[in-house]
């Protein structure tokens, strides 16, 4: 199997490739359980995290993953001001490339940025989130967390709830989970649903999505949706779409609860649910590190001509 060079989204990925990656992630998690949580695999590789949009958890997770693999990490946080000085994303990336890098972990507020970067740069590009478009490592860690307990996703019902239209997490999960056989539902208020979500069934009826679900994935609700008019009332959202202990009862007993973070407690999720028995939120964080180690290994090792 030819190693994939970039991770931009799951377009063109085969089930076997995803499964192989998740299997490597499982072995990487075993590394994280050792007293010495570090292997020399990526010694001599240099990886840049380039965040054109603030994010602490994804950036930290990638950097930690790279360090666990003994790669050198260059962290490039771009403040809004340096771009407004006129330097383009492309120039910023080419400047970094001059430092001879093997991989670029890129987060951008604009869709398509990672694809563009893959065309500009010689190294591997890992999409750490581009606009509303894709966040493939989040979907991988979600799949990993689900597989951890459900052991396989064939025929499992996964409900994604919240602001689907503006969510890269929803898009990437809707691409990935059906590839593994899952039955994905996406629920939210009409103004926050896209026209289509490839791979998922859309509904504004939360109960329909939750009914007999094996897992519920709650998305963060951005308060700016009030300003742009796509959500008329937070109060109405809470009353109709907030995931509560009572609503979790619509799902299968013991259904898993996931959230990509950061959480707005008491908004998309009832306050204490994140610590409840359904919650796998902490599990997701550790899965994220293992998955990102696996991604780095798969993209970087075996590329030498």
């Amino acid at each position: 199997m030819a190693a994939l060079k970039h991770l931009l989204d799951f377009e063109g990925w085969r089930r076997s490739e995803v499964e192989s990656l998740l299997e490597t992630a499982r072995l990487m998690e075993e590394v994280l359980e050792r007293p010495m949580k570090k292997v020399p695999a990526l010694k001599g590789f240099t990886i840049a995290t380039v965040f054109f949009e603030p994010s602490t958890r994804t950036k930290t997770s990638f950097e930690l993953a790279a360090k666990r693999m003994s790669a050198d990490v260059v962290s490039f946080a771009v403040s809004g001001s340096s771009l407004s000085k006129g330097e383009s994303y492309k120039d910023t990336l080419l400047t970094l490339q001059a430092m001879v890098l093997d991989a670029y972990v890129i987060r951008s507020p604009v869709a398509g940025m990672a694809h563009q970067a893959a065309g500009w740069l010689r190294g591997s590009v890992i999409n750490a989130g581009d606009g509303r478009r894709a966040h493939p490592t989040q979907a991988l860690l979600d799949a990993y967390t689900l597989l951890d307990e459900l052991s396989q996703l064939e025929g499992k019902k996964i409900a994604i709830v919240g602001d689907i239209a503006h969510s890269r997490v929803a898009r990437s999960n809707a691409e990935l989970l059906p590839l593994l056989g899952a039955d994905v539902w996406a629920a939210g208020p009409v103004g926050l649903l896209p026209e289509v979500l490839k791979g998922a069934r859309l509904t504004s009826n939360l109960a329909e999505a939750l009914s007999d679900a094996d897992a519920v994935m709650v998305l963060r609700l951005q308060k700016e949706r009030m300003q742009d008019g796509s959500l008329p009332s937070i109060r109405e959202y809470i009353s109709e779409y907030q995931i509560t202990a009572e609503r979790m009862n619509l799902a299968r007993p013991g259904a898993l609860l996931l959230h990509p973070g950061p959480m707005n407690r008491d908004l998309e999720l009832a306050g204490t649910l994140a610590e409840g028995s359904h919650s796998r939120v902490e599990r997701q964080v550790r899965a994220g590190e293992a998955v990102r180690m696996a991604v780095l290994y798969h993209l970087l090792v075996g590329r030498a001509a």
Binding site: S20, E30, P35, V39, P40, A41, L42, G44, Y297, V301
Partner: protein, 178 residues
């Protein structure tokens, strides 16, 4: 590649392993606390067989662990084909234990080097022995085995293939020309 010679048959492998098992017990002055760690792929069945032999001779069955050295290879930035990462499963605490690292072929010594690095990351063994079925020479690192089934002089253009029933459906050691 073309087959040049059949170097060892099943019975010779069996004899070599018996001898190694005896030597291990002798050198370690018994089998108490002893544990074996097989290196993927064929080191694992060899470690299992040695464990069984030691049990037969000593009445104590040493625990067997499984070690994957992929993440410790020193050539990952240079290779064109991605090696699959496999499981490392050592179901016992290695600290303060005498360990026997088991592999099928000792050649350049790079696998052994990686395995030693991996083992010391997992804990602090009392000491580490090294057992191999075949030593074919051409070392690139200052590494030697404590227990050798058979020394086989080879050229660098040759490939030594160890076949084991558990993996390959038969036992035997073959010499192939590249």
């Amino acid at each position: 590649m073309k087959l040049k010679a059949r170097l060892l048959e099943a019975a010779e492998i069996e004899r070599a392993l018996r001898r190694i098992a005896h030597e291990i017990v002798e050198k370690n002055k018994g089998a108490e606390e002893l544990a074996l760690v097989g290196v993927h792929t064929r080191g694992i069945p060899l470690a299992e067989r040695l464990s069984s032999l030691i049990e037969r001779f000593e009445g104590v069955r040493p625990a067997v662990g499984v070690l994957d050295i992929t993440l410790y290879r020193d050539d990952l930035s240079e290779i064109a084909v991605q090696p699959k990462v496999r499981e490392t499963r050592i179901p016992f605490d290695i600290t303060n234990k005498p360990l026997v690292l088991v592999d099928d072929v000792l050649y350049t010594g790079r696998t052994a080097r990686a395995a030693l690095d991996a083992l010391v990351d997992l804990g602090r063994p009392q000491r580490i022995y090294f057992a191999v079925l075949v030593d074919r020479g051409h070392r690139e690192l200052p590494i030697r085995a404590d227990f050798v089934g058979k020394n086989l002089p080879t050229s660098r253009q040759e490939v030594v293939k160890v076949k084991l029933n558990e993996v390959d459906g038969e036992d035997g050691v073959e010499l192939w020309q590249r």
